[in-house]
C-alpha cells in the first residue's frame, strides 16, 4: 500500500482499519513531508500489526525526485494529501498561500498520482483512493481557492476513473465533509456533521471493498451538498457561506 500524506489522521486510521480487517501488505510506503510524525506511525503499526513500512520523504511544493519512487510496488494507493491554507479573507491576495493551495491539492499532486497510475495500468490491477472535498462541489466565499483546487481534483479523479476502467484499475473519490482532525481543531463544528478519522476510515474501507466510485463520508453530506449545488446562482451569490 502506498500512502500519500501519511501524517493525515484519516490515512492512518484507514491503514489501521485495513490491517485490522486482515488485509496483507508486503510493505506500506509512507510518503510524507514530515519524517518525525510518520516514524511514529511506522513504529506504531509495527508494534500493533507486525507491519513493515518504509518512509519516503517528498515535498509537493518542491521538485519531486521520482527515482526514489521507482522501486515501489503495490496495488493500493491512498491519497490524503491536502492543504487548507488561509481562507479567502486573509489568503486571497496572498500569492504564496494561493500557490501552495493549488500545488498541494492539485497541480503537483496530479503528476505524482499519474506516476503510480501508470504503474497500476501496466499491471492491469489496483485501486486509487483520493480524498477530495465537499468544498469542491461549489465555490463558496469562505474557502474557494481551496475549493477550486479540490473541484479540479474531483474532476481529475472522475476522468481518471473513466480512463482506467478498461485497464482494470479502480478509482474512488471520497468527499469527507467536516472532520475532527488537525485541520479543523478548535473550530466550532457541528458534531452531527463531523466525522472522526476512525468513522471516516471505516466508511472508506467499506466503500473500497464494494468498489464504490464516489462517496460522502457521512450520508447527511450528500443531502446538504445536493441542496447547496442546486441553489440558484442569483440567490447563492448573496449568501454568507
Amino acid at each position: 500500500m502506498i500512502v500519500l500524506g501519511s501524517t493525515s489522521e484519516v490515512a492512518q486510521a484507514f491503514v489501521e482499519k485495513a490491517l485490522q480487517e486482515g488485509e496483507k501488505f508486503e510493505k506500506i510506503y509512507l510518503l510524507t513531508s514530515s519524517r518525525e510524525a510518520s516514524e511514529r506511525f511506522a513504529k506504531h503499526i509495527d508494534v500493533k500489526f507486525f507491519q513493515q513500512s518504509e518512509i519516503i520523504e517528498i515535498d509537493l511544493t518542491k521538485e519531486i525526485n521520482y527515482t526514489k519512487l521507482e522501486q515501489i510496488s503495490s496495488n493500493l494507493l491512498f491519497c490524503a494529501t491536502g492543504f487548507l491554507g488561509e481562507g479567502s479573507e486573509e489568503g486571497l491576495y496572498d500569492d504564496k498561500n494561493t500557490a501552495r493551495i493549488i500545488e498541494i491539492n492539485y497541480s503537483k499532486l496530479v503528476p505524482l498520482i499519474n506516476f503510480f497510475a501508470q504503474k497500476f495500468e501496466s499491471k492491469r490491477s489496483g485501486t486509487i483512493i483520493g480524498l477530495s472535498s465537499v468544498a469542491g462541489d461549489r465555490g463558496r466565499q469562505s474557502n474557494f481557492i481551496y475549493g477550486s483546487a479540490k473541484a479540479a481534483f474531483t474532476a481529475y479523479l472522475s476522468g481518471l476513473r473513466n480512463y482506467l476502467f478498461e485497464k482494470k484499475v479502480h478509482v474512488m473519490t471520497v468527499k469527507p465533509g467536516f472532520m475532527d482532525t488537525k485541520m479543523t481543531e478548535g473550530l466550532p463544528l457541528n458534531p452531527a456533521l463531523t466525522a472522526t478519522p476512525k468513522q471516516a476510515a471505516d466508511c472508506i474501507y467499506k466503500a473500497f471493498k464494494k468498489q464504490k466510485n464516489s462517496i460522502y463520508v457521512l450520508p447527511i453530506w450528500s443531502v446538504i451538498m445536493l441542496i447547496i449545488r442546486n441553489i440558484p446562482e442569483f440567490i447563492f451569490k448573496k449568501l454568507k457561506l
Binding site: 511514529r40 513504529k43 506504531h44 508494534v47 481562507g87 478548535g186 473550530l187 466550532p188
Partner: protein, 440 residues
Amino acid sequence: MKPNFVKKVTNWGNFPVVEKEMRSEDQYSKIKDFVLNHNEIIARGNGRCYGDSSLAESIFSTKKLNKFISFDRLNGIIECESGVLLSDVLEISVPQGYFLYVTPGTKFISVGGALASDVHGKNHHAEGCFSEYVIDFKLMNEKGEIITCSREENSDKFWATIGGMGLTGIILSVKFKLKNIESAYIRQESIKAENLDEIFRLFEESESWTYTVAWIDCLQKGKDLGRSIMMRGEHAFPHELPEKLKNNPLRLKKKFSPTVPFYFPGFALNSLTVKIFNYLYYKKQAKKEVKNFTDYDTFFYPLDFVNDWNKIYGKKGFIQYQMMIPKDKGREGMQRILETIANSGSGSFLAVLKLYGKENPEAYNSFPFEGYSLALDFKVDKNLKKLIGQLDSIVEEYNGKIYLTKDSMSRSSLTNYLKNVENPKFISLQHKRILNNNTI
C-alpha cells in the same frame, strides 16, 4: 472561522462542567510551544477521573499521543505514548499472552492517566499499584524540556509524578512491564456474605487470591448491614478451561456493547430504583457460592459493557466517593460509613469494598495504604454536600484518605496529601480548590 479551542469539558461524573481551552498536539515542538505560552496547564487523558483533577484554565489533551513505540515480546515490556488507552494495550497484548499487571475497573483510561493517578486494581494486596511495573517515562516539564524519569534517572521527578495528578508536567510516554498469562479467562468464585462480619472474614481468608473485591448493597441496615458479594479470581490455565474454550484460550469473541443514548431524567434514579437494583443484584446469585470461568472483560470491566453508563445519573452528574481507612479500624469505620449512608437514604448503585496491602513507601503520592477502601457513586443533588461532610468527618476521625482521582468535594484535610509537586505552570482546578480549602 478562527479556532479558539474553548470547549465544554467534564469528566466521567459529568460534574463539574467547565468551559476552558483544550488543545491536543502530537509533535513535541508544538507541545513545548503550548507549555511555554500558557499558564495553569493540566494534562488530560481520557477524562475517566470523576471530578476536576484533569480540568484547568488550559487543558492539554493527550488524545493525539496515541501511538505505540515498542513491544519487547520476549520480556513483555511495552512502550507507548501517554494517550494510548489500556484497552489498546490489551488488544495487542492478550493474544500474545500478556496482561496488565494492574488495571482499574475500566479499560478506557490512558496510560498517562494510569501513571498520574497511580491506579490500583483488585490485586493491590498482592501486586501493588500501576507504578510497580513502570520502568521509565518521559515527562515534559515547565520549561518544555523532555526528561526521562526512572528509579535511577531523575528519580525525584519519577516518584513525584507517580500519583502526582499531572502537577509535575505532561507525561509523554511510558515504558512498563506486562504479566504473562496463558488464557484470556479468569477462574472466578463469587460468595454471598450476609453482613459485615462475614465479608471482612472473607477478605482475610482470601488473601492468597490474586484478585479480590466485594460489592455491597449499601441500603441494608441492622443485622443485614454489609450484605455483599465477594468476587475472587485467578488467571486461568488452558488445561483448567471448559472444552469449548481450550482451543483458542487467548482469543475472545467480539461482544456487542449497548450505548446509553441520552442523559436520563433526574427522577429516574431515586432511592427506590437503587433499592430494586441492589436487591436484584444480590438475589441474582441464588447459591451461596458460585465457581465458574469468565473472560477478562467481564471480570475486570463489567461496567465497560454499557458505553456511557454515566449518563444514567442525569445531567446534574454524580460523584464517586472513594475513601480509605487503616486496616485495624477498617471494620469499625466501614460500619459507621455504611450506617450513615443507609440513614441518609441516598443509595448508591455501586459500592465497592476492597482490602489493600502494604503501600510502597517510595511512591509517596499514591493513594492506597494498608486498609479497607469503599467506593460509592452518588447522584449530585441538594442533599449530597451534607452527606459528604458527614462521611468526611468519619474518614478524618480514622485517619483515612480520599482518592484524588475521584474527589470533587471532600474537605482538603483529606485530600491535601501530595508532596513535591508545587509548580508554577501545572495546576488543576482540583489542586487550586484544595489549596484554597474550597468546596465546589
